[in-house]
Amino acid sequence: MNDAIRMQISAFVDGELPDNEADLLLRRMGQDAELRRKVAEYLAIGRIMRGESSVAGIERLSDRIAEEIGGRRVDDAAVAAAEPSGRAIRPLAGIAVAASVALVAIFGLQFTDPPDGQGSAPEVAAVATSTPETAYTVPQPVDETLLQYYRSHGELSSEYGANGINARLVTLRLSEEALEEEEAAAPEGQAAEPEDEGAGDRPREGTDL
């Protein structure tokens, strides 16, 4: 990717790219996954640098991408990305969904595209999900056995000195029936008696957690 393209992307996410150049850039994005990834990076970096909750070009980007993928809005595309892709899918429920989605959003869980190679919608959605509007609302397909394997791999490889992905994924395998809810939310007076270090709001020693 050359500097001219980078400048184009930067101008585009700032809403400053002329229409004719924006059209060209969008067409290229439709064929170039690396370009889409780069745009996603710019969107995120722009938000951080400017302390904004949204980016000037994002609404326009959403509309234009919707046109490129056949009239669907970005939200629709994101849902499409979450649809089964040939793997065993078992949607989680309740708190498990919340936990999974939150950590999916942070740690970037994304299963492979369908084997037919029709990856454009998920890839476009990957760009879209970097926006506040969609990033935390799309459950991902989860193969529970596979997640247990990822987690176990992380644990054992960590034991042997290799950095695993354990810490990124442990919560993903939560299921509502497996959670052991504390009887009384938190012990009385807990907040008034913080621990001496670290997580000051954690339950006191002896709490049956």
């Binding site: 065993a88 596979l146 247990q148 034991e159 810490a167 504390e182």
Partner: protein
């Protein structure tokens, strides 16, 4: 360029925390292994406060991170800057994932040293002859001067790493996991960072009053023990060897799964061998830079998982068999 070999690198990394050369002496070192050694020390001992961007497969998330180590114990607060305001409060291995919108706290136990870095080659196990490490050039990241270090694999069976290490502290301000085409599979980058701030208790405390929240704990972790196995790969990629074999009971499953861990000294691949499971699909899947491949062999579901390219887990999984 220096090949990563045991026991040289292993010795350097094992020396972390025991024999630290003066930073000034190391800062200008022409030896890339010195830089990796400094990084190992910095990650385990440095306190910092900053904003991290994590980028994987087109997704980018911003996290505010406060991190300190006291008496060898990690204390950390990570706050998602978008979405539902998820907070992760960590004290040692105990981790509280606070979901404010759900008024819930998930209590977990994590074993690694940092919530932020998952792809650092800080392994203290032995490196084989499968990588070279080199100093590339100086660059600036987050407004600070860094040295770019490249760890390059000799073939396409494993990923490479690029590390931008702060010249003053050795701390990794940017890391990339690199695939065969040279593209970054995963990236962690500080947009801003400060090392000279005091990390107080209040900075590490949750932003929420959680006493009225619902508290949950993770179900018991899997239990494992070393076992012998007749399963092995007939065609392991070069440099990989089995370093552990466990029998494991996983949550919600009755049967014991055989877990074989292969490593080339830096990358690792786990192979799980379980009785045939109709609910578990064959084929590839991926999470960030981690790939898996599952296949049915002799009435067993064989699944390979690791932070390696898809072709590597496929080759290992499909060549497993009983001796």
């Amino acid at each position: 360029m220096v090949p990563l070999r045991s026991p040289l690198f292993a010795g350097l990394v094992l020396a972390v925390g025991h024999c630290v050369l003066p930073a000034a002496a190391m800062a200008g070192s022409p030896d890339p292994l010195d830089w990796l050694n400094r990084m190992g020390v910095a990650v385990q001992t440095t306190s910092y406060e900053g904003t991290v961007l994590r980028m994987r497969e087109g997704r980018a998330e911003a996290l505010k991170v406060v991190h300190t180590v006291r008496d060898g114990v990690v204390h950390e607060k990570v706050v998602a800057q978008e979405g539902d305001g998820l907070e992760i409060i960590r004290s040692g291995n105990e981790v509280h994932c606070i979901l404010p919108e759900r008024k819930s706290v998930l209590v977990e136990e994590w074993s690694d040293q940092s919530t932020v870095f998952s792809t650092l080659p800080s392994s203290d196990i032995r490196f084989g002859n499968e990588y070279d490490v080199a100093i590339v050039r100086e660059e600036r990241v987050a407004g600070r001067k860094t040295m770019l270090i490249a760890i390059r694999p000799h073939d396409g069976y494993r990923y490479g790493h690029r590390l931008w290490l702060d010249t003053e502290t050795g701390f990794p301000l940017q890391t990339q996991l690199i695939d065969e085409s040279g593209a970054a599979v995963e990236q962690v980058k500080f947009a801003d960072i400060r090392f000279d701030v005091e990390i107080t208790e209040s900075k590490l405390a949750s932003s929420y009053q959680t006493e009225d929240f619902r508290w949950f704990t993770q179900p018991s972790r899997h239990t494992g023990h070393s076992v012998d196995t007749t399963w092995a790969s007939s065609s392991l990629p070069p440099g990989f060897q089995a370093i552990a074999t466990h029998g494991e009971s996983l949550p919600g499953r009755d049967e014991v799964v055989t877990h074989i861990l292969y490593s080339d000294g830096l990358a690792s691949v786990s192979v799980f061998i379980a009785p045939q499971d109709d609910a578990h699909a064959d084929g590839p899947a991926s999470v960030g830079g981690s790939n898996s491949f599952s296949v049915l062999i002799d009435g067993h579901q064989v699944t390979a998982v690791g932070e390696v390219p898809a072709a590597t887990v496929e080759q290992i999984a499909t060549t497993m068999g009983q001796l």
